[in-house]
């Protein structure tokens, strides 16, 4: 039997894989799963039927059922253990980094390096799907560095501007 630690939204639970199905502590019956297609699954549990559509890899999965869409993270016991010994990522010291909240085109950069900005002042305008979104400073800062320029395509999470 293999045991997995699973988080769905903000809930965590163990799932034990055994030949009879998927057992969740606290339940007396395992969940029976039939794979119907590449991404489509039928789950039966105590007579309750639930269709789930899911895909993903490397421990991160997207699952959908009855219009509810959730991200599910799965780790085997071994992966959990390995993680304990892996070096934790270090945070960037000082400053505030403005990252792209969505994939977009840089429509305009409104500030220059060295500028002092006030709370509420626009920093950069991103265009996605023909809508412009202005990112504003939430407090007073000075602009340390600008990492992008007008016309560039950025991905979600890309560093745009460094403030301090």
């Amino acid at each position: 039997m293999a045991k997995f630690r699973v988080s769905v939204g903000n809930q965590e639970m163990d799932v034990i894989v055994d030949p009879g199905g998927y057992l969740i502590p606290g339940e007396d019956q395992p969940l029976a799963i039939q794979r119907i297609g590449t991404y489509v699954f039928s789950v039966l549990h105590n007579g309750r039927s639930c269709k789930v559509v899911a895909y993903g890899s490397n421990g991160s999965y997207q699952a959908l059922s009855g219009a509810l869409h959730f991200e599910v993270m799965v780790e085997s016991e071994r992966e959990q253990l390995l993680k304990q010994y892996a070096p934790s990522s270090t945070g960037v010291a000082g400053g505030t980094e403005i990252t792209a909240p969505m994939p977009a085109l840089v429509a305009r950069v409104l500030v220059n390096a060295g500028d002092a900005v006030v709370a509420g002042q626009g920093l950069i305008v991103l265009e996605a799907m023909k809508m412009e979104n202005e990112i504003r400073a939430h407090q007073a800062y000075s602009v340390k560095e600008i990492k992008v320029e007008k016309g560039m395509t950025v991905s979600k999470g890309d560093l745009l501007i460094v403030l301090e």
């Binding site: 699973v6 639970m13 549990h45 490397n58 071994r78």
Partner: protein, 507 residues
């Protein structure tokens, strides 16, 4: 106007509206021509059409907005007519003019009507002469200073709008004077990107209005009728999300008065073909002309379901010179229809656009459900175009039945690969203010927070967890029903097996 034969139509658009137009063409025995950008080579509108031609790179400014290339393609394909759909070149008077200069039929109004209604400030003057009530505002302004001057004459908030605009593009609400400059510039720039025209105007912002629009139709002989209203008050950032007809606040008397006003506004610009008159309606059910959309509207299907008419077929017939097949008294309204715009946006995360490839898609089926969609499995939602995936429409004899039917259909809808606003649409259908019909354009800011989205049941959580575990163990180990026991390790998972032996995990 003499009768014109239309045997082949080029659809100068993409996505669901291109497919929707082609469907009617096929029913009428008219051949169809699609155009496509680099990104759209395998999209449904290309697959559906009888012919398809490449018109340029993915950015719409270099493809779907290039008039010469579209008209050149129509001539090369020997099309008789061009249907512009909505958005892109649909409300561009120069395009309509260039189409008719090339001896092609433009399926829509005349260039002069588009021009008259396209400039929102001129349009207001025009309809005022016809006795149509309007909201106080400025002509087109070019500098921030002019904007400041108007703002000093009225109480804030005011609304900045694109003079050439529609669909919420280039629109900004100004609550404080110190926001004016940056909002003004961003509105101008967005208007320039979206419409190629950066002029904006400013009008007083009505608090808590409802957005009610009337579908009108006119033939080349001047017969003009309305096909009832659409309530479009559920809006996010001035973009409609849910529309319904009839409007919960429009009774027979108000419908007659607003309908007559809508017809008068259309006649003021000698309108022909399909058009929409948008009104704001205040708490006292007083209505004001907002603008006219001189094209087929995104939400036209709810009017089709309530009247039983095919608006694209009517557009084609009117463009061929046929008279409207009915008078105002012949228009029958039946039941209730609701549309939800299914968009690739994450309602849990401030509706940020969600790009990606659709890996799984299964639309709802069953009684009273219509789904218009222009993307399929393996299709990509990119940053180049609108995030709308589909329009889901439900019809039922009564409003509450239609809401229940829409709720059922939304629950059936399976899309995986991008996040969608389906959970948000379910929130709207379930909200008591919506159910009572007592809502306005502030519905979303007034009532919505992501915490109010439906959360999964305990059973669903467990099912999600188990299926994800199955996927995880399938990729990492072998099939879940044959998890290796001690001594039966395969070469593939020897490491895992050794690890387990070491810990003695498997009793």
């Amino acid at each position: 106007m003499s009768k014109t034969q239309i045997k082949k139509v080029l659809v100068a658009n993409r996505g669901e509206i291109a497919v929707r137009i082609m469907r009617t063409c096929r029913e009428m025995g008219i051949r169809t021509v699609a155009v496509y950008s680099d990104a759209d080579r395998t999209m449904p509108h290309v697959l559906y059409a009888d012919e398809a031609y490449h018109i340029g790179p993915s950015a719409s400014a270099q493809s779907y907005l290039v008039m010469d290339r579209i008209i050149g393609t129509a001539r090369k394909a020997r099309a008789d007519a061009i249907h512009p759909g909505y958005g892109f070149l649909s409300e561009n008077a120069s395009f309509a003019q260039a189409v008719s200069d090339s001896k092609l039929v433009f399926i829509g109004p005349s260039p002069s009507s588009i021009k008259a209604m396209g400039d929102k400030t001129e349009a207001r003057k025009l309809v005022e002469k016809a006795g149509v009530p309007t909201v106080p505002g400025t002509p087109a302004v070019e500098t921030v200073k002019e904007a400041f001057d108007f703002c000093k004459t009225v109480t804030l908030p005011v609304l900045i709008k694109a003079a050439a605009g529609g669909g919420g593009k280039g629109m900004r609400v100004v609550h404080r004077l110190d926001e004016l400059e940056s909002l003004f510039q961003s509105a101008q720039s967005e208007a320039k990107t979206a419409f190629g025209d950066g002029r904006v105007f400013i009008e007083k912002y009505l608090e808590n209005p409802r957005h009610v629009e009337f579908q009108i139709f006119a033939d080349a002989l001047g017969n003009t009728i309305h096909l009832g209203e659409r309530e479009c008050s559920v809006q996010r950032r001035h973009q409609k999300v849910v529309e319904e007809t009839p409007s919960p606040i429009v009774d027979a008397d108000l419908r007659r008065r607003m309908g007559e006003t809508a017809v008068a506004a259309a006649k003021a610009c000698n309108y022909r073909n399909a058009g929409t008159i948008e009104f704001l309606v205040d708490r006292d059910r007083k209505f004001y002309f907002l603008e006219m959309n001189t094209r087929l509207q995104v939400e036209h299907p709810i009017t089709e379901l309530r009247t039983g008419l095919d608006l694209v077929a009517l557009q084609l017939r009117v463009a061929m010179g046929d008279p409207l097949p009915m008078n105002q008294e012949d228009v029958e309204f039946m039941g209730h229809a609701i549309e939800c715009r299914i968009c690739a946006e994450d309602p849990h995360n401030n509706f940020l656009p969600s790009t990606g490839t659709i890996v799984h898609l299964k639309p709802p089926q069953g009684p009273g459900v219509r789904e218009d969609r222009g993307i399929d499995v393996h299709g990509e939602i990119s940053v180049y175009y609108d995030p709308m995936i589909a329009k889901l429409v439900a019809w039922a004899p009564t409003r509450s039945d239609a809401i229940n039917r829409m709720t059922r259909a939304l629950h059936e809808y399976e899309i995986l690969g991008v996040k969608t606003n389906i959970p948000f649409c379910l929130f709207v259908m379930g909200h008591s203010a919506f159910r009572k019909g007592d809502y306005d354009t502030h519905f979303i800011p007034n009532y919505f927070t992501p915490e109010k989205l439906e959360s999964p049941t305990h059973e669903q959580m467990e099912a999600f967890a188990s299926v994800a575990t199955l996927l995880h163990s399938n990729t990492r180990y072998s099939s879940p029903s044959v998890v290796p026991k001690h001594g039966s390790a395969t070469t593939k998972n020897w490491k895992e097996q050794r690890f387990r032996n070491m810990r003695g995990a498997d009793g």
